[in-house]
Symmetry: C2
Subunit: 753 residues, 2 copies
């Protein structure tokens, strides 16, 4: 063991040193000669990020609440702008005017069988110097809840996801006319409200059960990192799976002159009022519920028996917002490219928080700032990027990816032309490299990860991530044998969404995490005190993130040939296609089995008279779907990806001498358009804003990704005809993508001839 | 659905009616003609059991605490004796004198960092009229704990099973010199003390976590059936996997003249003191623990973060017993057989409880009593059993299967000769038929189950059990396609143990359950009030149990040919053999994989510095085992079972006319000895009392069964040489069993020629 880890450390130190071994292979997209130059600059870059700087930036940026519309949000943007200018960079602030509701009135009372008024307030903690900034804190609420004032019996709906309502149906319980209480977790919060509304609930309460991020998980703040009894998770409930960004300006930038919808026509505002609460506020409500005991997997960690209701608990919920327009402050830095100025490498992290937001998002934002400082030093040493580099510190992410979405929409025509890659980060912590994104970049990102040293273990972050995957039996073989670690697909939940899903720009999302737990997400306790006690306390992983993001940016900016790669991509796509084929089979089998059980008298026979369950409905057996169009599309992709691979191998032979002398502009232009080919201009069924046909946030999962979404969600929603149509559409899109790959391959062949 | 359930109900009603359809097939072991007579008597029998009687018996038997040595225990025995005599039956009480420790002193205090004295007392509940009989209640304790007075730091060990100590090793925590606190569940309680002692703990506390049988599961008593905060689970901690029964007289009946061990030489007394407590008493102890947060699957439902310790909590534990000898009162009823008086069908249920014991064991005992009343009525109508029927109401089961074990040991020579079948029951509840036992009786028991009507669903209890199994995807296909439902193997935990494991008498354990939950096991709240509110409140399933047990007894007592069957048996045995082969492979693979991970530097790389885990030890890769001897044994079994099957089919042809005229005494005598052939006189490795080579309670599971135990446990304990030796021994035993089956087949062939 020791031997292995020592030699791995030696290896990665060698890669980190300013003078890499003479026999280092060429970086993908580089000739051997230009690789040497590139490695030299990268090593210089990685030596720069400084942990004390990261700490200082965080202390400044999280010193006061800095949500959209707050004084300190603007102040932070201006401070960053000044810093970037001080470093000699070309920086500016781009503003947008967006709808941003903030609480005017919030009330929650239990009125039967006993009375209790919820506190709806997070108290200050003596040890924590910023937790008492009540005057500036945004109260606990869910942004983009519709206004409402409702009184109704209460029903506990577990996580409030669609499966939970299937269970309620079996129990014979309807939420129609009720107020539901759901616990945070298992899906993005906006889904809970949406699904509750679809089932006829009048209102929705979302609380943090101690099982999910409180004392059940570990010691609570300030003794430990988990959510204390009065801690509340704020958060947006905008229906982002329909479209993110300003609800009044879908598809266009929320500039002063933009045409705006009337508030009543904004489809991403919730249909029923919703309020988040602490478990201290939830406990009397839940304890007052009667009715049957909840199923085992519905139970939280509060010390009583959980019941479903409805009633006897009856609650009064009132939510009213100031429906104001607020200004966003995106800070944008541009380093022009000298060879390919019209090819942009974009890097971003948001700067706004719900309150002090030290972890979310400042832990990521400070790494991005430090990348910029390092780039500014390289520029002073004579380094010049071939491509244009754009760094973005977004505002308004928390409310619905406002800053990034409005910017991407505002500049969409240009971005569709010049956008090469968008690299996002957000919160950052101790642990393992987490990477997700477009699979055309999987090989590239694996290459970057191999060159970053893990600050704790002194092996490469790639090696550490590989060993983590080996710890999961299902991933073990793949992690050991496959050349590259698999990269997760992106759903939503951060600022890559508009770039990837709306514009079709190949995107990455990177960060470190997995070691420290925590439960202060979106509360007043996510602050400098918490982060420096329980987060990446010495900013070692903040430094690693700056090294990772910066290395990726440098390497993309100066590659001769853009390092997109299509064999990992098609390998992954093949898995997705197999998944949806299996999904269709499984759905069919499940319905056949269930109908058979209905025939057998199964449900009546096993039913427990003291806990009766209604039999599930009989369903029509779904037809077999014709997957041939997608299979033909895949065949085209495989064929053309193979061709590109062969051409690339030829071009890279002999130290990439051909690459070094070729004119690759036309090839790169063709390569950039390949991710665009994965989009369709009319988007996904019922949500045209989402144009990417391989990745999308799930309509009923929110952040969670659905790959090949048009087909997958049609099957999940049992829309068999729609599924057949979408298969044809996706199949054509894949064939078209294959043509784009073929064109790039031919262009490359010509260029290096 | 309705159609199916209606026709199934029709079918079972038809089977239940006094006049079965003329075309009913013959019962296994009967000719068609004698089947008609048998069915007639069975139908008469099943009409007799009366729910009000069951209720009345329970009210009487559970009116006062009736543990071994109590006045009411003897009183109950004498009352039953009088009843049986009143019904005209030949009944007697057989007594034994056994070691029975009862509490003299119990103390548990937290002495650091704060002070708390455990209450160790279950308070009376106003609604429950017998919960206040403090003067007669046995205090909360674990019988057969060694005396001790220890003070030491506390360590939480989860369920206290061997895997938990492997986790503690990884955490770098030793229990040496500590007092451990384990929660009830996941294994039999005696294992927790044994394993704690083996790891060097000085004392052991076992508590009932509300997660496992308290408020987490449902409403607590008296509002619901689950364990209230002060409820305590008493129970024996005698090391029964070594030998059950009186610790001073292993292998022989504890009659007045029996040779007795000195107390210090009794190996089944615990090595360290142990005390069970409520979660109200456990909460201050657990809350005072520091150290690391426990792993996820160690967490209970108390409202704080669970820690492992050791300390700062320090506790003082004192346990001292009166090491008295007490008298057991087994009530034995014998109905002599007219044709085969030396073939005994034995039926039993214990009558002693820990306190009032309404559920455990009176709910089962009253059904057995009602069977006896029904049999007495049949006798008066002229029915006569071919074989001798023996009914046993055991004393002292709770302390260590005392009554049944001493009786079986006392009469062992006779029982080995005449014992055909032992049918046990214990607690009974609402729900599904649960059957376990010797697989030579699997087909027989399936046949009985097909003829019993479920009182709730009006389909056969067999059908209902089948549909329940269909609800488990892993069992679905088997339950739908196999002619017979699989029967579980028996471990220990009730009075079948001595019959099956020590004497090799084919045994069954039957009961109903699975609908009502509960958490009053072994507490003062297991009483008439609880049972009539939350148990089988109208005794419908008590009646079903009497019908089931009685039908089985009748059918065995009057069969021409004993209905053992060997194809289900060999089919099941084949699965066990495959399981242990897989176990050996999996162990090997797991060690190879772990060693590979140690080589990869895996554990160091994924370790979280704030929750450090030591790497697991490197282990020697196990050799491949030679399973050929068992495979050859299985081949012999398959061949001879097939032969018996063919002969039996011939004998049963033409309505079993051959059976009707044959002299089958010699065949039956040979058949009886087949289960005996599955035993070896020197027993299992290190525990010679356990002689059965197919079934045994696990040395480290207690109640949980280990099939082919000598081989399986050698593999589990990584004793590879021992495993190879045991494979040879078991293989020979199987070949010998095959010879016994062959002898029975030949004998049957001769008899029906």
């Amino acid at each position: 063991m020791k031997k292995v880890s020592r030699s791995a450390a030696f290896l990665s130190l060698a890669l980190l040193s300013a003078a890499p071994p003479a026999d280092s292979p060429a970086i993908a997209g580089y000739s051997l000669e230009s690789s040497r130059v590139e490695r030299d600059w990268e090593a210089k870059f990685r030596a720069i990020p400084n942990q004390q700087n990261l700490r200082d930036y965080m202390q400044r940026l999280s010193a006061r609440p800095h949500h959209v519309g707050s004084a300190y949000d603007k102040d932070n943007a201006e401070w960053m702008l000044a810093k970037f200018k001080e470093w000699g960079l070309d920086a500016k602030i781009e503003t947008f005017d967006v709808l941003f509701p903030s609480p005017k009135e919030r009330a929650l009372e239990l009125i039967e069988p006993t009375r209790f008024t919820a506190r709806l307030q997070e108290p200050a903690v003596a040890e924590d110097p910023t937790s008492n900034q009540h005057a500036e804190q945004l109260p606990t609420y869910n942004a983009y809840s519709i206004d409402g004032d409702v009184t109704a019996p209460l029903v506990y709906v577990n996580y409030g996801i669609p499966e939970d309502y299937e269970q309620l149906d079996r129990m014979g319980i309807s939420v129609k006319g009720a107020i539901v209480i759901a616990r945070y977790g298992a899906s993005w919060r906006g889904i809970k409200v949406k699904v509750a509304g679809e089932h006829g609930a009048l209102g929705c309460i979302i609380y943090s059960d101690p099982r999910d991020d409180g004392y059940y998980q570990g010691e609570v703040f300030p003794k430990g990192p988990y959510r204390p009894k009065d801690g509340v998770q704020r958060g947006s409930v905008m229906d982002m799976p329909v479209y993110p960004g300003d609800p009044l300006t879908p598809g266009v930038g929320a500039s002063p002159g933009a045409k705006r919808l009337a508030l009543k026509d904004a489809t991403t505002i919730t249909k029923i009022p919703v309020l988040p609460i602490s478990h201290a506020d939830a406990q009397p409500l839940l304890a007052a519920l009667g009715g049957r005991t909840v199923p085992e997997n519905w139970r939280g960690a509060l010390p009583f028996t959980y019941h479903v209701g409805p009633g006897p608990a009856k609650v009064h919920l009132k939510v009213q917002a100031n429906w104001d327009t607020k200004k966003l402050y995106n800070v944008i830095v541009k380093i022009p490219g000298v060879t390919f100025p019209d090819e942009w490498i974009i890097r971003g992290n948001h700067h706004d928080g719900w309150v002090n937001g030290a972890d979310d998002p400042i832990s990521g934002a400070v790494a991005v700032m430090e990348e910029l400082r390092a780039l500014s030093l390289l520029l002073k040493q004579g380094w010049k990027p071939k491509r244009t580099i754009v760094y973005c510190l977004w505002d308004g992410e928390e409310e619905g990816l406002l800053g990034s979405t409005e910017w991407a929409e505002e500049h969409s025509a240009e971005l569709r032309r010049v956008g090469v890659v968008y690299i996002n980060s957000d919160s950052n912590g101790r642990g393992f490299l987490q990477m997700g994104g477009s699979h055309t970049l999987e090989k590239f990102m694996n290459g970057v990860a191999r060159d970053i040293e893990d600050p704790e273990k002194k092996i490469s972050v790639w090696k550490r991530a590989q060993l983590q995957r080996i710890s999961h039996p299902a991933d073990r073989d793949d992690a050991r044998k496959r050349a590259d670690l698999r990269m997760g697909a992106l759903g939503s939940g951060s600022d890559f969404t508009a770039f990837l899903d709306h514009l079709g720009i190949a995107s990455l999302n990177i960060g470190y995490g997995g070691e420290g737990g925590g439960g202060v997400y979106h509360s007043v306790y996510d602050d400098f005190y918490w982060y420096t006690h329980f987060g990446d306390t010495d900013f070692a992983y903040g430094r690693a993130l700056a090294q990772t993001g910066g290395t990726a940016v440098l390497r993309l900016a100066n590659a001769e040939l853009l390092p997109y790669e299509f064999s990992d991509f098609t390998d992954t796509l093949k898995k997705y296609v197999e998944e949806i084929q299996k999904l269709a089979r499984d759905r069919r089998d499940a319905i056949l089995e269930r109908n058979k059980q209905l025939d057998e008298g199964f449900f009546a026979a096993i039913d427990n008279p003291s806990e009766k369950l209604l039999p599930p409905p009989r369903e029509e057996v779904p037809p077999y779907l014709n997957f041939a169009p997608i299979e033909n599309g895949m065949a085209a992709l495989n064929r053309t990806a193979d061709h590109y691979e062969r051409v690339l191998a030829d071009a890279a032979a002999n130290g990439g001498a051909a690459l070094a002398r070729a004119q690759l502009k036309a090839v790169n232009e063709k390569l950039i358009q390949i991710e665009r080919a994965l989009t369709l201009s009319d988007g996904l069924p019922n949500r045209p804003w989402f144009k990417h046909q391989i990745y999308a946030p799930g309509f009923y999962t929110g952040y969670g990704v659905k790959t090949i979404p048009a087909v997958r969600e049609s099957i999940e929603q049992k829309q068999w005809r729609e599924a057949d149509e979408q298969i044809v559409r996706v199949g054509k899109m894949l064939e078209n993508t294959g043509e784009h790959i073929e064109a790039a391959a031919s262009e490359l062949e010509r260029a290096v001839k």
